[in-house]
């Protein structure tokens, strides 16, 4: 797959690269411990000592945001991994083989993709039990399967009868080989932009759920939970809300730019 370099792609990659690098560093080292309280340094505005200020317990917000963003990033990555792998398998098999199973599964899929993802995620989380990181990943992962299944199904179904597939079949290639070697690489160009959109939806969905208090709860604080915590002290420490909100926005914005760049670069090559 060839993609022409463009401004969107470059800007997105640089922005996302910086943020992800900081988050990864934050997973191993933060300037202060995100949980250490300090009565002397309560509610301080951003300064060189505390880059994003401190909250009402005197905890360093920069360290908390780094840790929280780490949780958000992990959950989003795990979610799209589950969603895209399972979705691709379902979509590939139904698209390639077709038949009754395909019809039934796709009607079912249509019903599911019509729903707002957050509502489905809430339904699943209320069944598996709220408040746990792995349950959030499970809930969101399941929710993201249908959309990937639909995208890959379309790609596989449209290429199924292409000439090069027919000739591969005539040469005696097995179904497994056709699916993996001949078809899968050709769906990457559709799958890549879908991954960026899915990643952003996962970040926003996780943040919303944690904001509502039914996603990740302490000690595993995520950015969404921190925002709900920050809402209560907005008048005293506005920097808490603004900084944790900005990190979500920048992360989603960066990946959104990459997605835009991928789509445009693809179009220009054609």
């Amino acid at each position: 797959m060839r993609i022409k370099r463009n401004g969107y792609l470059t800007a997105g990659l640089i922005l996302t690269g910086i943020i992800v690098l900081m988050i990864i560093i934050g997973m191993f080292w933060t300037p202060y411990s995100p949980l250490t309280m300090s009565a002397k340094e309560k509610l301080q505005a951003p300064s060189l000592r505390h880059l994003m200020g401190t909250d009402n317990f005197g905890r360093d917000i920069f360290s908390r945001v780094l840790k929280g963003a780490g949780t958000t990033l992990t959950i989003a990555a795990a979610t799209i991994l589950i969603g895209s792998v399972c979705g691709t398998i379902v979509g590939a098999l139904t698209g390639y083989f077709g038949g009754v199973v395909d019809d039934v599964l796709m009607r079912f899929n249509d019903a599911l993709t019509a729903f707002p993802s957050i509502l489905l995620a809430l339904l699943v989380i209320s069944l598996v039990g709220p408040g746990n990181k792995y349950n959030v990943i499970l809930a969101l992962g399941i929710v993201f399967i249908p959309s990937y299944a639909r995208i890959t199904r379309t790609a596989f179904a449209s290429l199924r009868d292409a000439n090069y597939i027919t000739s591969a079949r005539l040469m005696g290639a097995s179904n497994a080989r056709i699916l993996l070697v001949h078809l899968l690489p050709n769906t990457v160009r559709i799958l890549l932009p879908a991954l960026t959109i899915g990643f952003n939806n996962a970040v926003l969905a996780e943040a919303s759920m944690s904001f509502l208090g039914i996603g990740v709860t302490p000690p595993d604080a995520s950015l969404g939970y921190m925002l709900s915590e920050a809402q209560g002290m907005f008048a005293a420490a506005p920097w808490y809300s603004i900084c944790s909100g900005l990190v979500i926005i920048l992360l989603v914005f960066g990946v959104g730019l990459i997605g835009e760049g991928l789509q445009r670069g693809e179009r220009e090559v054609e």
């Binding site: 401004g7 969107y8 800007a11 079912f108 019903a111 019509a114 729903f115 707002p116 993802s117 957050i118 509502l119 809430l122 339904l123 989380i125 209320s126 069944l127 598996v128 709220p130 952003n200 926003l204 943040a207 919303s208 904001f211 509502l212 208090g213 039914i214 969404g224 925002l227 709900s228 920050a230 809402q231 907005f234 008048a235 506005p238 809300s241 603004i242 909100g245 979500i248 926005i249 920048l250 992360l251 989603v252 914005f253 959104g256 730019l257 835009e260």
Partner: protein
């Protein structure tokens, strides 16, 4: 008419499928409601008595259909937490959520459709870059973050409304509407950005078609063609998209109701999930899902009125 009848039949089937799945899911996970209600006071005799009272001794399918008809007769069971009929608890909240969704839908339509057409003219490369980047930025803003900012600026500082103190819709309609307007704004921003983007790419795709070239070569000006011909032809995908937007608004309302303290369905849903109040969760999930499916059907019916080709069973 035939198309409409078919579409409505499909709607009913989807509604039955959706409600069945929700019923089944809770049936598997929620365990025995009689046990949950009695808790530690459960003795085999009392359990049996409560089960009979709740009608749990009937077969699964019979219970499902009596629950489903409950959506029309208002009998949806009893909340574990409040010991009150679910319908009584939900009914006053439906209205609030409906208003929030309605206002944001109107906002999305009146802002993004004109802007979407207008943004077609921005072909300059540098402007296009900034426009697209700004668009992506708006899509990245989570509604609860704007909610925190707006409720501080317009609530605490400018005192347009009282954050967390939602006036009764029937007693202070204007006050409630003002409160909901800001919630709707937060909800709409990312969706407006998405609709503009979608609208723009549809218009661009349409402008490249042969009939546009013909119209222009016959002496019409570009603006006239854009408004007179292209707009109508771009509407079909946009209406479908707006139908999906309705679904996203309903999902998003769950979050903004929390930020602004609006006592709607979403807020109650979240509280009920934390309390494991399954009859309430089940009812709200299905009601919200019904709205989504109905919105999709309405979008299809509108499209069918706009584009006669769809009535002949053609697919687009």
């Amino acid at each position: 008419m035939k198309y409409a009848a078919k579409r409505i039949l499909l709607l009913l089937i989807t509604m039955i499928l959706v409600s069945f799945l929700a019923f089944l899911a809770f049936e598997i996970v929620a365990g025995d409601p009689a046990q949950t209600m009695l808790g530690t006071e459960a003795t085999p005799e009392r359990l049996e008595a409560v089960r009979q009272e709740l009608g749990l001794d009937r077969p699964f399918i019979v219970r499902y259909f009596s629950w489903l008809t409950g959506f029309f007769s208002g009998n949806l069971g009893v909340s574990y937490n409040y010991k009150q009929p679910v319908w009584q608890l939900i009914a006053p909240k439906v209205e609030n959520t409906l208003w929030v969704c309605f206002i944001s839908f109107i906002l999305i339509c009146i802002i993004s459709i004109p802007l979407g057409i207008w943004s077609y003219n921005w072909t300059n490369k540098i402007w296009d870059f900034f426009r697209t980047a700004f668009n992506q930025l708006c899509m990245a803003v989570p509604p609860f973050f704007t909610g925190i900012l707006l409720s501080w600026v317009f609530g605490i500082v400018l005192k347009f409304f009282m954050p967390g103190r939602f006036p009764d819709l029937h007693k202070d309609f204007a006050g409630a509407l003002r409160h909901m307007f800001f919630a709707a704004v937060c909800l709409s921003i990312p969706r407006i950005a998405m609709t503009i983007r979608m609208m723009r790419s549809t218009v661009i795709g349409e402008m490249e078609k042969a009939y546009v070239r013909t119209a222009i070569s016959r002496g019409n000006d570009r603006k006239g063609v854009l408004v007179g011909h292209v707009l109508k032809n771009s509407l079909v995908p946009v209406v479908t998209f707006l139908g999906q937007t309705m679904a996203e608004i309903i999902g998003g309302s769950i979050v903004v109701e929390q930020v602004f303290g609006i006592p709607g369905l979403g807020r109650f849903l979240v509280a009920s999930i934390s309390n494991r109040d399954y009859p309430v969760v089940q009812a709200i999930v299905v009601i919200l899902a019904f709205w989504v499916v109905i919105a999709g059907t309405v979008a299809d019916l509108v499209n069918q009125a706009i584009d006669p080709r769809l009535r002949l069973g053609g697919s687009k």
